[in-house]
Symmetry: C2
Subunit: 352 residues, 2 copies
Amino acid sequence: MDGDAQRAVRLADGRELIYFDDGPGHDRSARDRRDLPPFAPSSQLRLDPLLDEWVIVAAHRQHRTNLPAADACPLCPSAGGRRTEIPAPGYHVVTFENRYPSLGGPPAGGRCEVVCFTDEHGSSFSALPDRRLATVARAWTHRTRELSRLPGVRYVFVFENRGDEIGATLQHPHGQIYAYPFVPSRVARAAEVARRYREERGGCLPCAVVAAERAGGRVVAETGRFVAFVPEAARWPFEVHIHPLRHAASLPDLAEDEQAELMALYRDVLRRFEGLFERPAPYMAHLDQAPVGGDAGLAHLSMRVFTPRRAADKLKYLAASESGAGAFINDVLPEDAARMLRVAGSSGPGAV
Amino acid sequence: MDGDAQRAVRLADGRELIYFDDGPGHDRSARDRRDLPPFAPSSQLRLDPLLDEWVIVAAHRQHRTNLPAADACPLCPSAGGRRTEIPAPGYHVVTFENRYPSLGGPPAGGRCEVVCFTDEHGSSFSALPDRRLATVARAWTHRTRELSRLPGVRYVFVFENRGDEIGATLQHPHGQIYAYPFVPSRVARAAEVARRYREERGGCLPCAVVAAERAGGRVVAETGRFVAFVPEAARWPFEVHIHPLRHAASLPDLAEDEQAELMALYRDVLRRFEGLFERPAPYMAHLDQAPVGGDAGLAHLSMRVFTPRRAADKLKYLAASESGAGAFINDVLPEDAARMLRVAGSSGPGAV
């Protein structure tokens, strides 16, 4: 499967790009004929000593592409004389190094990649067919594995943001992958809490939480091996966590059919988000996995999907309590959010 | 001073309101003649077990006042037949319990207050005269002291947000005070890091950081007893921290003339923010102080002021790295930000 259906090329400035196809037999040999300046990212890591947290300074990003018109989309395939980031005239899934990365190059290290889910500019993840979901899962898994092997990389973070209300600068259906040269604070914190739990009470904290949430009345949808629920202490108006029912630390730990189930449940949750209001809700989706070389017993694979939209015409902002004190305030009762999400979407409650 | 120049009253629904005047001799006896429904806040605290963090669920806030027209401003004084939150026909500084609080009432406890800095709707903190700054400092100090004495209150958080770009729902110059029934995670984290530093190296970590920052080339302004700098690991495009040069844990620990100096420096920083771009920058300002009953040696009074505006027409959003992984990415080099802030504002570099 990884033979004909996958091909790595170099862009004009030396960045790596990989085509992941739904099947073999597609010609992805087109060359990048653009005249690009050399790729020389130069982000810095700086430690905030008061919180013992790394901050990334990426001053070169200040002039990155910001909401270009559809006919100038850098994520569309190269066609009709227009040259984009993707040299081929068509593609299924493609990953490549971000031209304006937050991470990469000396001295900080790390790497930022873009993942395009389809060459159809006006589509969305929620509209992808099953076959494409499998290809996305294959790309995410491949990149998780490969980026974890880069020198200095400590955490691979797969995510998707959609909607200009939340600052997504490109509308073409895509996600990103950040390979951090440090363990980000949220991940470190979760591992610390899980370690304390294991020492004091034994077992896996996320597994215990999933068991409690399944009985908590806030389940949105459940498949044979995965569950999607609004957590009891949701931070965002509509926030859904997707967990495997068995313990798994990372995407590569899942079998192919498990990955298919996870992807279909993620798509199902996104469709429910679309059904919440009169117009599609902007959303953020984050994939949690184990840090590189970390204790797999402490990490627990999960996806967190949320929208900051709290009503058809209202967004939740991060206010002083969140950004200044670290205390989230949620204006929507998680039980109400779960109820609304169960009935939202054409697929009906509980179905995938 | 606290006699004639201060008067506590009750609003129609029982909430407490206190007038803090620039001097004695003002009549603040007007009664609140509105017919208000009973004040019955009902927020909940929920623990996120995976991060060991409290989340506040305040579903009753969903329908709070959102950017009312200027002639319906609830923070203007009551005059000309219009009845607002403030019964008097004029005021200097006033604090009162928030009608749509995130905290308060059973079972969560805690309290949210509003602080109005002037009765002039179109004014701003940056335009306040020295005499008013002293009154604001007196109000902040009084409320810090009194709220700290409420049963169950663990942390008093004084802050100001300005600008609808960051979700401030009212334009009238005002700030807020949150009295939390728990120590918020950012505050707890800072205390934990400071404790480790003291155990391993001795002394006060924030004091050591202030000393290093004064020599770091990012000082924006300095007075005899306070310094304002862009921290080496700034998270936001334009972020300034204001610290006393001596160790002080809380606002009530400062002498009156020290408070005056702090307030003037805060105003100076706000004026510099206004000078950065063609139009006033939205900003958030947070006052850090010691938790109630906390170790005063571990806490360090400071103000953090920042704008999410990274260019005249661009805002920094919290993207996946920040909200999903806890790793901030700053697109503006802190040294550049400090340089721009030193020259911004009519008062000139270094002056207050």
